[in-house]
């Protein structure tokens, strides 16, 4: 994460580090999905890759050294790539509709509930993954299933 530098503290230059990864680290291709499709797939990634994600987070809580959690990180990446491939071949058009809607609307989820509903149905039918918001209080409908929400798009 980049930080905000206070002004007048020296000449800033952008440094691009060209050293490749060391050869003893197994190579895993990074996830190439950008922010809007990733946000759209976020809850499905959370439930499909739950075990690997939790392993990674627990590992990170032990030490923030990047070298400490490389193995768990590779597992997370592989699981995410697996789910993205499955989403592309099974629910490709619904996913595209949802993330394109998000991209037009500042990537805020409450603007795009109709495409989201279709995507959730497709994901549940084809892949058996349901969108669940963890921490929803008992007895309250989750916001993505509420039929007439108060906070919604004003226009369009």
């Amino acid at each position: 994460m980049t930080t905000q530098y206070p002004r007048g503290t020296g000449f800033k230059c952008d440094f691009v580090d060209q050293t490749p990864m060391p050869a003893d680290v197994p190579h895993v291709d990074e996830l190439g999905v950008t922010s809007a499709p990733l946000k759209s797939a976020a809850f499905f990634l959370g439930s499909f890759c739950k075990d690997y994600n939790e392993d990674f987070m627990l590992c990170k809580s032990e030490s923030r050294d990047p070298a400490h959690c490389l193995k768990e990180g590779r597992k997370v990446t592989r699981c995410a790539i697996d789910l993205i491939n499955k989403m592309r071949e099974n629910c490709g058009s619904e996913w595209d509709a949802h993330w394109e809607c998000l991209d037009k609307r500042n990537q805020e989820l409450y603007h795009c509930r109709q495409p989201e509903r279709k995507l959730n149905e497709c994901m549940f039918d084809k892949l058996g993954i349901k969108k669940v918001i963890p921490g929803t209080p008992e007895g309250r409908t989750p916001i993505h299933e509420k039929q007439s929400p108060i906070y919604k798009s004003i226009q369009k």
Binding site: K12, F15, P20, G32, K104
Partner: protein, 84 residues
């Protein structure tokens, strides 16, 4: 009976001026954002994600659903540094 159409000229001018300024603003903002409306209320997380999008696609508003990142992605991360 003559209609005082000259009295409506200021309203026409206001509409035209506001319309022209607004349209120019909209067109200029969309041109800077790959034809999309500009993003607002961006926090550090969103800025970091947009920087990642720039590294993946070449533009801060570019999107893609490729499961695998291009080869350049592993070597093009930018560190903000200072000369001491």
């Amino acid at each position: 009976m003559p209609v005082p159409w000259e009295a409506l000229i200021p309203f026409g001018l206001l509409t035209a001026m506001f319309g022209a300024a607004g349209t120019l603003m909209n067109v200029s903002q969309r041109a800077q954002n790959d034809g999309k409306a500009p993003r607002y209320k961006l926090d550090s997380w969103e800025e970091s994600m947009m920087e990642r999008d720039r590294r993946l696609t070449g533009s801060k508003r570019g999107q893609s659903t490729n499961p695998l990142a291009p080869k350049e992605f592993s070597l093009n991360s930018v560190w903000q540094t200072e000369n001491l």
